[in-house]
């Protein structure tokens, strides 16, 4: 009798361990996915930072009367470069500002037919448009990954394993800035 009870208890303990490590492994997998998707955003943001000086250089000759806009883009880029690595929230804000100024710049560029006929500008335009898209798709995937991870961290029974092994809910990458939501206004002042 004692043997049977012992076996049952032993089996239960074993089962608990298996479940525990199963949950633990899935948490690790989710955390890796979150990190991986964050690094994807990072790659695209860096790519954008690298493209902007070329763009400004190409546009300078054509857009002589738009110095303010060009400077604003350059400054926003510097601010975004400085903000990288300073946490999700701050970086999101700086990058959101940069996106706003960039779309303003492209709206202005529409008024310069010579610039728009420049092959170099066209290629850079496509690259930047695509990089913008990639940033938003990477953000989309990152946020989906964060949501999966947070669900796991906060829901029973995986929340027990998460709190015991130090998994925390992750921060969403949200750009809630007017600049990105609104259609850029073109001003001729």
């Amino acid at each position: 009798m004692a043997i049977i009870v012992g076996v049952i208890i032993g089996a239960l303990i074993l089962l608990t361990f298996i479940i525990f490590f199963g949950i633990y492994n899935s948490l690790v997998r989710l955390r890796n996915q979150v990190r991986n998707s964050w690094s994807q955003i990072d790659v695209q943001l860096k790519r954008r930072h690298d493209l902007i000086p070329n763009l400004i250089e190409t546009a300078k000759g054509y857009m002589k009367h738009e110095r303010e806009t060009l400077e604003a883009v350059t400054n926003a880029r510097s601010a975004a470069v400085a903000a990288s690595g300073k946490g999700v929230g701050q970086q999101a804000k700086a990058e959101g500002d940069l996106s706003g100024f960039l779309s303003k710049f492209f709206a202005l560029a529409e008024n310069y037919p010579d610039l728009k006929a420049n092959q170099n500008f066209l290629a850079l335009h496509e690259e930047l448009t695509s990089t913008e898209n990639k940033i938003s798709f990477a953000r989309q995937f990152y946020n989906d990954s964060v949501m999966n991870m947070n669900n796991k961290v906060q829901m029973f029974p995986s929340n027990i394993v998460a709190s015991m092994t130090g998994f925390r809910a992750q921060e969403f990458f949200e750009i809630e800035l007017k600049a990105e939501r609104e259609v850029p206004k073109v001003s001729f002042s």
């Binding site: 996915q33 690259e127 448009t129 695509s130 898209n133 990639k134 989309q140 259609v183």
Partner: protein, 408 residues
């Protein structure tokens, strides 16, 4: 995502299993009737099937791409197409960028193939590139990457190969029946009794030889149709813009071109059935794809959410039944409401101008791939010479000056 893949596997498994069962049953009856042993028939069918599957697993994608006469391109050949694929790879979270191929054909179409998400390929026709704008092309590419992500590519290859094995074995048996007919009947008669049983067996075998290829093909098509809906839903989810794919399907289905390099076996792999004219009803069982008008209607019913659940609801609304099309496991794992986005800010160039530029880009690309020689005449005219032009020099079409062709 993982739930989605698992649910897919289970949902589609029975179709694969039943196609396999048809193969084995056919092997048994053909063996019993013509080889005097059902088991040896099964063994023979299995051997054929395994060999075909091994070939398909290791070389299926290159065979298929070769059959479609697809050519691999690099980023510099078409930066926009590459960028769009890169965007969708990020959105879908695929671990590796697929190879990109171009098929030089005016019929707009696309397909995905490969073994798994680590080894995959996407092919589009030059006609597709000419016809679609950026948002639409993105929708189509997202649909193809959906096939890769949902593991449809290997599933369709295996299903296709099994159907191929059934067709092949049935064909062999016909030859055997026609060529060896005399010998077999003499052996049977020398055996004496049991003639009635043998006759029934032969009858069953004949029925299998006629019906098995048809039935297995129908099951293959049923499988293919399910996967099309799921890939459409994936496209909406990745792009967050169902209208892109809807408008692309609209344009593609209005084309009257027929893809020259497609055939019966490869047809289910394409985004739109390359062999049939537009507007086929979904109730047509032999159709490899759901009717395009229905697919468009579902995408346009989705409104401002791009989630799987929304697609499922839209499907039920359009289809008018209680059964959904997205596996339950997928719905459980997916987020409730996913806000879809607005159309990308379009260039302010008139669409006609954009279309001309796009057409020129694609023509350039295709001629480069086909190894045309680019020449620039002194009068400022630029033109290309096809590789099969034999002369050493060619007259400029504008000024009539003789231009030597380099390397001849």
């Amino acid at each position: 995502m993982f739930e989605q893949i698992r649910a897919n596997k289970i949902k589609s498994l029975w179709l694969i299993v039943s196609i396999g069962a048809v193969l084995l049953a056919m092997g048994y009856f053909l063996g019993a009737a013509f080889l005097d042993s059902g088991i040896s028939g099964i063994v023979l069918a299995t051997i054929v099937w395994v060999i075909m599957n091994l070939i398909a697993y290791y070389a299926g994608d290159s065979i298929f791409l070769g059959m479609a006469r697809a050519k691999k391109i690099q980023k510099k050949d078409h930066p926009q197409l590459f960028n769009i694929v890169e965007e969708m790879v990020i959105a879908s979270g695929l671990p590796k960028m697929p190879d990109i191929y171009i098929i030089d054909d005016p019929a707009p179409n696309a397909f995905a193939t490969g073994r798994n998400p680590y080894k995959s390929a996407v092919a589009v026709t030059s006609g597709l590139l000419r016809m679609l704008n950026r948002d639409e092309l993105q929708g189509v590419i997202a649909h193809e990457l959906g096939h890769i992500k949902n593991r449809d590519i290997l599933l369709m290859i295996i299903a296709g190969v099994t159907v191929g094995a059934i067709v092949l074995i049935a064909k062999w048996m016909w030859y055997l029946l026609i060529l060896g007919g005399g010998g077999r009947s003499s052996r049977r008669s020398s055996g004496g009794g049991g003639g009635g049983g043998a006759a029934i067996l032969i009858l069953v075998a004949l029925v299998f030889m006629i019906l098995a290829p048809i039935f297995s093909r129908l099951m293959y098509f049923a499988l293919s149709r399910r996967r099309e809906y799921l890939a459409d839903a994936s496209s909406a989810l990745y792009t967050r813009y169902p209208e892109g794919l809807a408008s692309a399907l609209d344009k593609i289905s209005s084309s009257t071109h027929v893809l020259a390099s497609a055939n019966d076996a490869t047809a289910p792999m394409y985004i739109i059935n390359p062999l049939h004219k537009a507007g086929l009803k979904a109730s047509d069982l032999s159709s490899t794809h759901p009717s395009t008008s229905e697919r468009i209607k579902i995408l346009r019913t989705m409104g401002n959410s791009a989630a799987f659940a929304t697609y499922d609801r839209a499907y039920r609304k359009v289809h008018g039944g209680s059964g959904g099309v997205i596996p339950a496991g997928t719905l459980k794992g997916a987020a409730g409401l996913v806000q879809s986005r607005a159309a990308a800010v379009e260039e302010k160039r008139p669409p006609a101008v954009e279309k001309v530029e796009r057409a020129r880009d694609v023509t350039d690309l295709v001629e480069r791939l086909n190894k045309y020689t680019a020449l620039a005449c002194q009068c400022g005219t630029a033109f290309r010479v096809p590789p099969d032009y034999k002369g050493k020099a060619i007259k400029c079409p504008r000024c009539g000056r003789d231009n030597p062709i380099p390397g001849r």
